[in-house]
Amino acid sequence: MDSVLQFWRSFISNILSELGNFSLSDWFDVKKTNVLVFVIIFCFLILYFIYHAKRGKSFFIRRIAGLEAVDEAIGRATEMGRPILYVPGLSGLSDVATIAAINILGKVAEKTAEYDTRLIVPCRDPLVMTIQQEVVKNAYINKGRPDAFKAEDIFFITDSQFGFVAAVDGLMVREKTATNFYMGMFWAESLLLAETGNITGAIQIAGTDAVAQLPFFITACDYTLIGEELYAASAYLSREPLLLGALKGQDYSKFILLVLIVLGVVFATLTVTCCTDKFSWFMDLFNIR
């Protein structure tokens, strides 16, 4: 108790002494000014488009094949009378891909509630599992089917990576799932899951931001959401104005980056070919060391 009090006393006195001898350089790393500028621009763009979305402006999103196929995949499982498997990735809540996977799960659960198709969601993280149970339960309640919700179909297996994969592979083979969704963060187990699903003849839709695993999903799955398409999924499926606005802001930021990259390539090429230092200021703009 004494050491805890001692710690808090020194922490507060540190704050006070820093404030007493306030100097901007102690509180702001000027080398990161360029990062701050970009963060402000990015936030501004997102908030700007959210504002316009709230005022009723509609935004266009290009067709994403993997998301268009979600309905078809769920319909297939319903017709065949076989369950749907949804693997929400192997990471925890601190991973943004898991949040994106939870969003998509909500939408998939609404459809399975509507069609009365069994939805199996094995989890590797206990905290993620509790949230997913809530999300699926809520989806079923929204669709007026609280009776159809089965909490035991959303379960924790193990936090061991390959133990989890072995269990899910076994599940696929025993339950003969008609549709498999792999959404979220995956590592080496991606091909194990996708290939086993391929062997069982399931239709497979994958989405991950793990760049190293994309080739395996693309090879073995019917549809793959590549990188940021996974993050766009919640906006795409729900068509909620706020989410669409944020997506638009993200796109415009990407456009700005594209322009900067093109300029950087041109200036770097001129620097090398014309043996001049005139354009080094542009490269220095992006330096944070």
Binding site: Q161, F162, W187, A188, I199, A210, V211, A212, I288, R289
Partner: protein, 270 residues
């Protein structure tokens, strides 16, 4: 079904059987295939360690599971052997629980070969929850407090002058996928980082290599074999390369065969 149709739709079990033989037979009957040349990212790590003054500290971070031991353990052992040969001090940490024993084994194996003493020439801190990669930048003694055998760091002679990344000359992070040190140790604390990763994960790290955020990269079993040759201690990395070579050859043969069968059957349909 014609022969070519059967070939185009070859039963998986035949492929699995061929792969099993391709991996197993070279392990039983080693071919001794030569490994020529060294990739520049591998050489970069070797050269950096060669230039380190004696008694410099190298942080070996084990962030992998037993599943990737065959690929990552040979490169881990090779680098640790190199460090001990150069009379450098080695600090081991593990960012995964299962990596603790792997790290302990690696350090003990190499230490016995080079007669190094725990506590003086090497220390293994083990696993700790929290933002360890940031915590070590602030104070290793506060982040860990004890080594993995629960001996206080204050009692270990090696740890007396090792408190933050500033006291560490090189970090070598071994991981199955991504490294946690770039955003913390390199960006915030300007530490020097090299990464050992599986072949699949290596492709992702080339952007960081190009921007010099990592000084070198050991990607997969081939890199492990090359490093073993560089330190003149051919071991499991070199031995397993025979299997990898034959397995790759088998996949190439299967791809070519599959494509030939595909084109022939397609032409016949037309």
């Amino acid at each position: 079904m014609t022969f070519w149709q059967k070939l185009a739709n070859l039963d998986r079990r035949i492929i699995f059987g061929l792969m099993f033989l391709a991996v197993l037979l070279p392990l039983i009957f080693p071919l001794g295939l030569p490994i020529k040349g060294t990739q520049p990212p591998v050489k970069a790590i070797y050269d950096y360690i060669e230039k380190l003054p004696e008694r410099s500290v190298v942080l070996i971070s084990i962030s992998y599971d037993p599943s990737t031991i065959p690929e990552l353990y040979p490169m881990t052992l090779a680098v640790v052997r190199h460090c001990f040969r150069k009379n450098l001090r080695v600090l081991g940490v593990s960012l995964t629980i299962t990596g603790v024993n792997i790290g302990a084994d690696t350090l003990k194996t190499a230490a016995e070969e080079y007669h190094k003493q725990e506590g003086i020439d090497y220390v293994h801190l083990g696993f700790q929850t929290g933002l360890v990669t940031f915590g070590m930048g602030e104070d290793i003694h506060e982040t860990y407090k004890t080594d993995y055998k629960r001996v206080s760091l204050e009692e270990l002679p090696m740890m007396k002058d090792v408190r933050t990344y500033k006291d560490i000359s090189l970090i070598v992070d071994y991981t199955a996928s991504t490294t946690s040190y770039i955003g913390s140790a390199v960006t915030k604390y300007h530490a020097v980082l090299a990464v050992g990763v599986t072949a699949v994960g290596a492709a992702d790290l080339y952007p960081y290599l190009q921007t010099h955020q990592i000084i070198g990269l050991l990607g997969g079993l081939r890199s492990a074999a090359e490093y073993e040759i560089l330190i003149d201690r051919p071991d499991k990395g070199v031995i397993r390369m025979d299997s990898q070579s034959i397995a790759h050859l088998l996949i190439l043969v299967l791809i070519v065969t599959g494509n030939i069968a595909y084109f022939i059957t397609r032409r016949r349909k037309v």
